[in-house]
């Protein structure tokens, strides 16, 4: 028996610590495991006994890349439990904050983490030696997203301005002045990003995914809507637990998730776009068309193109919100405490993020459940490898390794979130 072993100790350019193990026997792929050994941090356990008002600041610390998502799913879930409704201006400002995080996170992933795969570099700093303009553009776009977070959230990482019921302080119209200029420049530059990434070479590989995302009748989804799929699912987030199940596998400190009766599913840009592309703004839709995208996309290697289109959308939407902004009389609505159960699913840059909390009459957390996008995507990422890797087995080890890493990075896994480092190990026997 021919045995060939490939091992990459650290899969780079992902957020967190994980490994990949491929077992190849007699030239056939026997198994593919995405192993997550990021140490567990036990958020769901230590949230018990905390006041619901403290939760958004704590859940933010699950992920330094997408803290806004963790704040958004938790505040919406708490508001559901407490039975309070936020006002339209507050909801618009929350969409604006999410636009900031999408721009920052997508720019980081496209330019710093993913583009080096397509252009043949180890990372963005190495890429900057030959393509300084590309890297500078990426950093400028990232900065524009961070400017939204800075103004509205107080700071880029772990913003301090989000509270149950709204915000601690809302900006004045005047404060949006300089931000508006930065966003207009960003929107223009983001059209260049779509052109750049649409010109990369993509393997011609498609998968038959079940796509799951938040869906809203009129809006490209951020933080309101049903949980929908391309296989007919359409439920309010309160019914999530009746349709999805988490399970524990030995090779991962992040729980896996499945759609009951269906199996593995995919959340994230491919799913969001394929289920909601008609609700993009005209500018983003035109950019998608120019990039050669149809109304749906099943090639995970093209996810970078979708991120670019979503970035155009996020700039467009941010500018729309700022132009329509009317400073609310109060930055938040009051949140009287009561017992209850609350759920919310919102769209983190990497996909749908579901939170559920049970509160006692004083508003203390009795139970918390957090299902991050990367947890949900783990089985589909492994299935991508099972389906794609057999085509690549004749390639030399370094090329095979790199393609497998790329297949994982397509989904921008956030392992810190999901556990809560990626190491590639291939065993060939």
């Amino acid at each position: 028996m021919a045995r060939r072993t490939i091992s990459v100790d650290v899969l780079a350019r992902v957020e967190g610590e994980g490994a990949l193990r491929l077992v190849i026997q007699d030239g056939k792929l026997r198994d593919a495991e995405l192993r997550i050994f990021e140490p567990p941090r036990f958020f769901e356990a230590f949230l018990r006994g905390r006041s619901c008002l403290e939760v958004p600041d704590i859940t933010a610390r699950i992920c330094g890349i997408c803290p806004v998502a963790y704040q958004m799913s938790s505040v919406h879930a708490m508001e559901d439990a407490l039975g309070i409704a936020i006002t339209p201006p507050i909801r618009a400002l929350r969409r604006l904050l999410y636009c900031g995080e999408w721009i920052e996170s997508h720019a980081l992933h496209m330019y710093m983490l993913h583009a080096p795969d397509f252009l043949g570099y180890d990372g963005a700093v190495e890429m900057a030696k030959d393509h300084p303009d590309i890297v500078r553009d990426g950093l400028a776009l990232k900065k524009a997203g961070n400017e939204i977070l800075h103004l509205l959230g107080g700071r880029e990482i772990h913003p301090i301005n989000v509270r149950v019921g709204g915000f601690y302080r809302v900006p004045t119209r005047r404060e949006f002045g300089t931000l508006r200029d930065a966003l207009e420049r960003g929107r223009e530059a983001s059209l260049g990003t779509v052109k750049l990434v649409a010109g990369f070479d993509f393997p011609d590989l498609e998968r038959d995914y079940e796509f799951v995302a938040v869906g809203h009748p009129d809006e490209y989804p951020f933080n309101e809507g049903h949980v929908v799929s391309n296989q007919g699912l359409d439920i309010p987030s309160q019914q999530y637990d009746a349709h999805f199940e988490e399970y524990h596998v030995r090779h991962s400190n992040a729980l896996h998730s499945r759609h009951l009766g269906h199996g593995a599913y995919l959340t994230g840009p491919l799913a969001r776009y394929s289920l909601n592309s008609s609700r993009l703004s005209p500018l983003a839709l035109e950019a998608a068309k120019q990039a050669g995208l149809g109304p749906t996309c099943n090639n995970p290697f093209r996810s970078i193109v979708i991120r670019a289109v979503e970035m155009v959308y996020a700039f467009d939407e941010a500018l729309r919100i700022i132009d329509a902004y009317d400073e609310p009389d109060r930055p938040f609505v009051d949140a009287p405490m009561r017992a209850g159960v609350g759920c919310a699913a919102t769209e983190a840059p990497r996909g749908m993020l579901y939170h559920r909390y049970r509160l006692d009459p004083q508003g203390s957390v009795l139970e918390a459940r957090i299902v991050p996008p990367t947890s949900q995507n783990q089985p589909s990422i492994e299935n991508d490898l099972r389906e794609f890797a057999p085509r690549w087995l004749d390639l030399p080890d370094d090329r095979l390794t790199h393609l497998c890493e790329q297949a994982i990075r397509n989904h921008d896994p956030c392992i810190s979130c999901a556990t809560h480092f990626l190491k590639l190990e291939t065993v060939r026997t």
């Binding site: 350019r13 967190g16 036990f42 330094g64 180890d122 700093v125 190495e126 301005n161 601690y168």
Partner: protein, 259 residues
Amino acid sequence: MKPPAKPKLAVWKFASCDGCQLSLLDCEDELLAIAGAVDIAYFPEATRGVMKGPYDVSLVEGSVTTPHDAERLHAVRRQSRTLITIGACATAGGIQALRNFKDVREFTAIVYARPDYIDTLATSTPISAHVNVDFELRGCPINKHQLLEVLTAYLHRRKPNIPPHSVCMECKQRGTVCVLVRGAASCLGPVTHAGCGALCPAYNRGCYGCFGPKETPNTVSLAHQLRDAGMNEQALQRVFRTFNAGAEAFREEGDRHGT
């Protein structure tokens, strides 16, 4: 003649959210200049490229929560001329140090269906509990301008200018009216290390202590004042048990309350 070799920078991760190392990538205007001044020799979040140690400066993010990480940290120290911890996890154990006050087996059973698959220590401890640390940069997350200051200082072999005073000083510098005095919010500013620029009070909320204790904090006095303002014992314990729950001054004050 060959130009002198650039200093080598390494970035290491232990249990954390990745936010503090992201602060380096968030230096959008300075990143390419940094890459010009140092060799980014090991930084898996940003590059597949790896240069061999030893490293001139190691930035360490995260806390120690597994037996394997405790061993890995010693290997990091051996390869590092200067070791700087970045953020509340590396400096105080982070939010995950809340396990230190509970039974970790119970925590594992709450989160995981198969606790037997999980290999974890009973405590989350700062880097300094395991190896010698040259400088601790505080914050949850760190302030990127302070990170640049610390990196610059170590590369030029001078002392970093990171004031150890309280957030109160920053409120005064910023011209923010005291939220405690005007009764708008409970605030940990008087006992919390400066560095954020007194952000929360400027957004009309009290400081929640994410930079951890300042030099010589009088937590007892602040706790009295918060109690007088109506905070109960459980809430008093919770305000000291957040992102720096494992920092000595906050741990001791939290232990005084709760019942």
